[in-house]
């Protein structure tokens, strides 16, 4: 397994071979830097524009040519947006779903991943291929039957359709954890078994404490997926006080009598900020996680 190898190089700052420092090389590297600065700026511009707009008055939003610095700073857009729709309530709802989903994920995925990684039994390899196949299954195929099933179960207007599946494990997270568990030497589990440790004991006393980074990665993925999820809450929730932030933000446009981009961008900023803060705090795990999803099994 090459997961461990492929994670660690990320910490390195580029390849180690040395360039001949010819003038041509210096010039070329400057050009690369310059091009990257320009493109990087281009990528960040929309976000800056979002924040800038969120602090503008109606008149200034429509200014031509566009102005970058709000004059004056209209902080009111934020409380106004939060009053226009109960964004605090929506945030709480999104948070509830996210937390429950994460709990479900952390309860189910390690168990399943451990079985795939370290317990030998007939059928395991076949089931692992099934697991990989389900990662590739287009989700839309499931949309209608799943909706009908949850409706039949009386789960409409509850958070269960979003939360419940987490307790049965998400294929991608199981896959990532399994890959991580496989990097631990086989002898680790064997030795513990010799000492009479149960499989559960090995998982929770040995594997889990060693898997902080991998667990952080799937937690972050889980948080992201639920915080951003739009379609499920759209389909399953019909009560205003149950709406999530993603759906609420979408409705923002539907309810406004005149389009106030300042307020809308304020709402969008409020929805984006938690994810960006999370990223700032756990940057390493975000990057590692994404890198891991691309690794071949």
């Amino acid at each position: 397994m090459r997961v461990a190898e492929s994670v660690s190089p990320l910490a390195r700052d580029g390849p180690s071979w040395r360039y001949r420092r010819s003038t041509r090389q210096v010039l070329r590297m400057s050009a690369v830097h310059l091009a990257l600065v320009a493109t990087g700026f281009l990528f960040l511009l929309p976000l800056l524009w979002m924040v800038s707009t969120s602090l503008k008055s109606l008149t200034q939003q429509a200014a031509w040519p566009p102005e970058w610095i709000p004059q004056p700073f209209v902080w009111r857009n934020y409380p106004d947006a939060a009053a226009f729709l109960p964004l605090a309530r929506y945030t709480l709802n999104s948070l509830t779903i996210t937390v429950l989903f994460v709990i479900g994920t952390l309860l189910s995925c390690p168990l399943i991943a451990y079985a795939f990684a370290r317990i030998r039994f007939p059928g395991r390899d076949f089931l692992f291929i099934v697991l990989i196949a389900t990662i590739m299954l287009p989700g839309v195929v499931r949309l209608i039957p799943t909706y009908l099933m949850f409706r039949q179960l009386g789960f409409l207007n509850t958070y269960l359709p979003m939360v419940l599946p987490a307790f049965f494990g998400s294929p991608l997270f199981i896959f990532l954890l399994r890959q991580y568990f496989r990097t631990f030497p086989e002898e680790l589990a064997d030795a513990a078994r010799m000492d009479g440790a149960s499989e559960i004991g090995i998982l929770y006393r040995i594997f889990m404490p060693m898997s902080g980074p991998a667990l952080a990665v799937i937690t972050i993925f889980a948080v992201q997926s639920q915080w951003n999820d739009f379609v499920d809450p759209l389909i399953y929730l019909n009560k205003e006080r149950m709406r999530t932030l993603a759906v609420g933000l979408y409705y923002f446009r539907a309810y406004q009598d005149t389009t106030n981009w300042g307020q809308m961008m304020a709402a969008a900023t409020m929805m984006t900020a938690p994810i960006l803060i999370l990223f700032a705090l756990f940057q390493r795990y975000f990057i590692q996680g994404v890198a891991l999803t691309g690794m071949k099994g």
Binding site: R151, E240, Y250, A254, Y255, Q256, D257, T258
Partner: protein
């Protein structure tokens, strides 16, 4: 019933718990004097919480809440949980809900109403109306037709998409040398207004719009006010989208847009006015005139009471007349899946032909009610205070009315018409090609 002391919810529950005959008492407490049907209330029933979905945001959300508060005072046993639906986004919410976790009472638009009724997702209100001794005659006929599916009423009218009037800014008219007292009675008047009152800056970008054209709806309105009926008897099979009168109407609308600088230019002038129900560009001074419903009087009173405006009949084409086209209705319906249909009916009645309707429509909004009687003395006193154009509105309302057929295919057909209109406006198709395409498609839909 209002003479009776309403039984409080807690008392009522205590009564049930104690096995007393309170419930029976309530059932027996039929008012001695029989009141007019539209204000009569049903016998008290079990306490219920009902969900009520509507599409009225902004000011009207607040207004509706006052009416619901009144309802709560009369019916303390019914707790109403209103939900404002997003628009757009209304259709998928309502349709999925009808199939699953349905509200007890909801507003529904004709396009969704017909398929829902056809599939059995709505409860017939025939028996309920009969039990309350209300007949369809209470409503304007065109509006009442919009509640029918195969001869049975599946709802009660709440708001009709009708009574389109022409609003104009008198100062703008005067400044452009037009007679501020004269609106626009025929298409040529409207063309003139659009040309004379639209202004452009030095770069050719639009500054101010003479008239706010309402997209493909203008074409629909124009067709009927040009003496033609798309789904009518004009052709053997009843569908005549590509009729010369319809084509004339479409060309008129194209010309109207051209005078405002074209599709994009008009769009730019109207930027941000997506939901004209809650405010409109004429009120904001961005445009000089607009076609809109009578409720706009109330919106102007709220948003810009000093606006120097006047209203009158909306212009018609050379072959038509001032008729009132009822395109669609927002009906109140009780879904088959409703948890508390009886309580829902109590609210439906209150809002559609009871006191709530009178208060919401006539007293608060100053616009005509769906019920004819409510627009007459003595009910109209307050409306006349709010709305100086009351008689003009009633004249249109009591004039010739045409309503589109209630059909579960209407939504699909109108999608085609809207697309045909867009094809012309985005210069993908010529008028002739778009119309013959639409003719074929709509024929196929109704076939």
């Amino acid at each position: 019933m209002r003479h009776m002391n309403p039984i409080g919810r807690r008392q009522f529950l205590r009564g049930i718990a104690g096995g007393s005959a309170l419930a029976m008492l309530a059932a027996c407490a039929v008012p001695a004097t029989s009141e007019p049907a539209e204000t009569g209330e049903a016998p008290a029933m079990e306490p219920a919480t009902i969900s009520f979905w509507h599409i009225w945001g902004g000011v009207r959300d607040e207004q509706l809440k006052t009416v619901l508060d009144d309802f709560g005072a009369v019916h303390p046993e019914i707790i109403v949980e209103p939900l404002l639906l997003p628009n757009p986004g209304y259709a998928d919410k309502i349709v999925t809900a009808l199939a699953g976790d349905a509200p007890d009472l909801t507003m529904i638009y004709t396009v969704e109403f017909a398929p829902a009724a056809a599939q059995g997702a709505l409860q017939s209100v025939d028996d309920r109306l009969a039990a309350d001794d209300v007949s369809g005659d209470a409503w304007y006929p065109g509006i009442w037709d919009m509640t029918q599916w195969e001869g049975t009423p599946y709802g009660v009218p709440f708001v009709g998409n009708f009574l389109q009037l022409f609003y104009w800014n008198m100062d703008d008219y005067a400044a452009a040398g037009l007679d501020p007292e004269a609106g626009a009675l025929v298409w040529d008047d409207l063309r003139h207004v659009m040309s004379e009152l639209s202004t452009f800056d030095d770069d050719g970008n639009i500054d101010h719009l003479g008239f706010v054209p309402g997209g493909w709806g203008e074409w629909m309105m124009g067709t009927y006010r040009n003496g033609h009926d798309w789904y009518g008897d004009a052709t053997p099979d009843g569908i005549a989208i590509d009729h010369p009168l319809s084509q004339e109407a479409l060309e008129f609308v194209v010309d109207l847009y051209a005078r405002g600088g074209g599709w994009d230019s008009v769009g730019a002038a109207l930027e941000g006015w997506g939901n004209q129900q809650l405010g409109n560009p004429m009120i904001a001074g961005v445009a000089s005139s607009i076609r809109s419903g009578i409720f706009t009087v109330n919106v102007i009173n709220n948003q810009n009471p000093d606006l120097p405006y006047k209203l009158g009949k909306y212009p018609h084409g050379p072959n038509g007349e001032h008729l009132d086209l009822i395109q669609a209705c927002w009906n109140m319906v009780i879904p088959t899946n409703a948890q508390n249909p009886d309580a829902a009916w109590t609210l439906a009645k209150y809002l559609s032909h009871g006191e709530g309707h009178l208060k919401f429509m006539v007293e608060i909004q100053g616009r005509p009610a769906m019920i004819r009687d409510y627009n007459m003395a003595p009910h109209d006193a307050k409306a006349r205070e709010v709305n100086p154009y009351w008689d003009d509105a009633l004249e249109v309302l009591n004039g010739k009315q045409v309503s589109l057929p209630v059909s579960d295919k209407l939504g699909a057909a109108q999608n085609i018409l809207r697309e045909a209109f867009e094809r012309v406006m985005l210069e993908v198709d010529s008028v002739g090609d778009a119309l013959s395409w639409a003719q074929g498609e709509v024929e196929a839909i109704f076939a």
